[in-house]
Amino acid sequence: MIQLKTKGRPYNIIGPIVGRVTRDPDVEAEILLVERDSPFSSLPRFKSIITPLDIGNQIDKPSVCNVQNIDHLCNGDIVVVNTDGIINTLYRINSHHNFLLLTERCNSNCLMCSQPPKDRDDIPYFYDIYTQLIPLIPKTCSELGITGGEPTLLGRKFFQLLQQLSFNLPETEIHCLTNGRAFASSNMANNLGRLSYSRLMLGIPVYSDYYQLHDYVVQAKGAFDQTIQGLYNLAKNKVRIEIRIVLHKLTIPRLPKLAKFIYKNLPFVEHVAFMALEYQGYTPHNIDKLWIDPVDYSKELSEAMHYLSDYDINVSLYNSQLCTTPQDLWQFSRKSISDWKNSYLAECNKCSVLEDCGGLFQSNMMKHSDHIKALLQKS
């Protein structure tokens, strides 16, 4: 598990400070990490100091001292120093899986939500820190995720952040996860269309072709109609779209029919992602409604994925292990689990295809297929 958070004693922190960290005082950055007690002169260049040392009263700028641990921070990482002394890593320089969590608010309540929503208006806070963050992200960043909660709840600020991204990071691919419901309003969709943001792709879940089942899974009345209408409005505005489907007991029975529905009604989508279940968030609480061993859904998964693939719609399988996936689907399997969540079982060390396998979520170490088994090299 990769650490993304630490804490210390705050001094003079009036509002959240976002900055690049460095241990080297000569490097361009906003936050200096001081690890050794060595004579240093006040460095006006830096906005803030982070240190495990107890030197709070010696520093003349906002700082966090007595910090538990800063070993996880690499030079170049971008963090937010909060008024309560909590330091969150917002961007990791050595990772390919950075994302911006825009809010924890959400208008849905999916049974398998891995990031359960909070009904607290955190948008002003997040908008502030991301406005500070975006100009600092290296221009070489190849891709960035946007997630939540439900990002569109930021309303006007959502479009403003996208514009900042487009301006500051013109070469960066942006993948934004959203339930798409707000785009049932053509106002929202047209606003997004006006940005003409060709590097942006929205990842929108559709869990069934039958509205009642989809609405039940996302626990929101009217959600299916809104999402589909939203997809149409987005397509009219030439926004790039990916459909995401989480594989569990409720979505599996109609999965091949969902594939047909997508082909017939949403043929404009760029990609369809089939995702195995993460054992996190609400999922443990609802596990009886959700759990099905991946080996038991091979047939439906194969039928659905090949149907779409035959019609030249790109498909991928995420969060799955090769040993529990039918071989005809291996071509679609991606190593998708963010490095900070990824794990393998002891059994896996013997496996001949370990390199290509997506592995498991850390959270799935407690709940995974009964059939995980090393695939030994054929002699």
């Binding site: 209408q229 017939k264 968030g281």
Partner: protein, 495 residues
């Protein structure tokens, strides 16, 4: 870290739209396909195969989500019923409907130029050719070619197809060269792309011609009626072997132009109908990846002889099914070969995309998708229209090159008159037919075989033939998932 689960999870029942079990019908049609199964087809051509009597249950409100869970979900998801008077996704239905008809968007694309009537074959089903050397009488003049090009360039379609037919088109090769050059110049000015096709029996093919075709990206369409014995009986070239010339020509074209640029068509004669397997096997042996089992031309039929027509339709259907099964067998054995007529129908059934095929669309192909400029300068609504003219019936003649304007031809009295009958949505028999979305209207066929453009469906061989082919394709798909997969491969082109 414990998550505070303050949001209560609600059971599935809460998410129903209607309080009770009321639902509203969306437009759909039904038809029995076997003694046990019927097919339901909605307004945009999506179909559901269900047990016989299901349509009655649906209409009589005898189904509900508890007792018929899967069927109910299928009906909602596929737009057969709705829980609101106006479905929430009416916009989706409207968009799909518009997409289905969008083959009409840019109006006429195919322009047939009958560049000469001269021919050295004497194919017994041909109505039009003349075995003669008289160029002046039977070749299209340069003035007419120019006038035809003028009209073609006025089509609103940015993509045009210029198809040279005959007689034997290559006998007027110099005129083809002239026409192609003119069009290439015009196309540049008007910002249009033009696809050139030459229909030829390949007998007059020379090396120079092949070079020319390659340089100008010309597609070749030829006739192969089956193995040598059948082909030569159908398509007799005096003092020569038509089959051998055709095969040689096909191979040369494949070599010089590439396999994708030469295609072969089949014309079924009464003789052909007895040899479905042999004909299919011939196409496979010659390495073809597609075969078009076009229905027999009615212009060889005696007009108004319903009994004879009925018999020949039954024979054709028998031939078609046998040939189709032979083709499926080849596919199951690993050789990809597609039947094109089935493919047109299957695309309409399975894909959401528009399918324009002039002989099977509504509004009909004539004028909307195709126009014919005859060797003598006369303008016809379709290829069959000019064949009627050869039998001295000028009902579908729309004008004359050099005299008629674009407006005269496409929006003149005759055109307007034909527009009254070219929609199968508005024809008796077709208006309620379950297969309406997959079929089409053919006023010329109706007129030629039954005496009027409306046609009489119960005795129409067009109707009998298409209804049975469509029904049979549905039955096949339902019977075997392997066949369904083959059909899908045909549509996508994947092996």
């Amino acid at each position: 870290m414990k998550e505070r689960l303050t949001r209560k999870f609600l059971p599935p029942d809460i998410f129903k739209k209607s309080a009770g079990d009321t639902y509203y019908l969306l437009p759909f049609k039904f038809h029995r396909i076997t003694s046990k199964k019927e097919v339901l087809i909605n307004e945009v051509g999506d179909f559901l195969i269900v047990p016989v009597g299901t349509s009655a249950l649906i209409i009589e409100r005898k189904i509900n989500r508890e007792d018929h869970e899967e069927l109910y979900a299928d009906l909602i998801a596929n737009f057969f019923i709705s829980e609101q008077p106006i479905p929430a996704l009416a916009e989706v239905l409207a968009t799909r409907y518009r997409t289905k008809k969008s083959f009409l968007d840019y109006f006429t694309s195919l322009h047939i130029f009958v560049i000469t009537l001269r021919c050295e074959h004497t194919c017994h089903y041909c109505q039009v050719s003349r075995v003669t050397a008289d160029k002046s009488l039977y070749d299209m003049s340069k003035e007419h070619i120019d006038a035809g090009i003028q009209i073609m360039m006025q089509s609103p379609n940015p993509h045009l197809t210029m198809e040279f037919q005959g007689g034997e088109a290559l006998l007027a090769f110099e005129n083809i060269v002239y026409a192609v050059k003119r069009v290439q110049q015009e196309a540049l000015i008007r910002d249009k792309t033009v696809t050139f096709v030459i229909c030829t029996n390949l007998a007059p093919l020379t090396e120079d011609m092949l070079v020319y075709f390659k340089q100008n990206n010309i597609l070749i369409s030829t006739s192969l009626d089956g193995p040598e014995s059948i082909h030569n009986k159908n398509r007799h070239k005096p003092f020569d072997n038509s089959y051998q010339l055709t095969i040689d020509g096909i191979n040369k074209c494949r070599k010089e132009l590439g396999e994708e640029n030469i295609s072969a068509l089949l014309t079924t004669s009464t003789l052909s109908l007895q040899y479905p397997n042999e004909i299919v096997d011939e196409y496979v042996n010659q390495g073809f990846r597609n075969i078009f089992l076009r229905p027999i031309s009615p212009y060889g039929f005696a007009k108004h002889n319903e009994k004879k027509n009925g018999y020949e339709t039954a024979q054709f259907l028998d031939f078609y099914k046998k040939a189709l099964n032979r083709i499926l067998q080849h596919n199951l054995n690993g050789y990809f070969i597609r039947e094109d007529y089935a493919c047109i129908i299957l695309k309409k059934m399975i894909t959401p995309f528009p399918v324009g095929y002039v002989d099977l669309q509504s509004p009909a192909g004539l004028i909307n998708s195709v126009i014919v400029f005859n060797y003598d300068g006369k303008i016809y609504a379709s290829d069959e229209s000019r064949m009627l003219a050869e039998m001295n019936d000028f009902t579908f003649q729309l004008g004359t090159l050099g005299y008629s304007t674009y407006k005269d031809v496409f929006y003149g009295t005759k055109s307007i008159e034909i527009s009254e009958v070219f929609l199968n949505e508005a024809l008796p028999g077709c208006a309620d037919c379950a297969f309406q979305a997959y079929c089409g209207a053919d006023p010329v066929f109706n007129y030629a075989t039954q005496g009027d453009m409306w046609g009489h469906r119960p005795t129409s061989s067009f109707c009998q033939r298409n209804m049975e082919i469509i029904r049979y394709l549905i039955e096949l798909m339902d019977s075997d998932k392997k066949i369904e997969k083959i059909f899908r491969n045909w549509i996508t082109g994947k092996n």
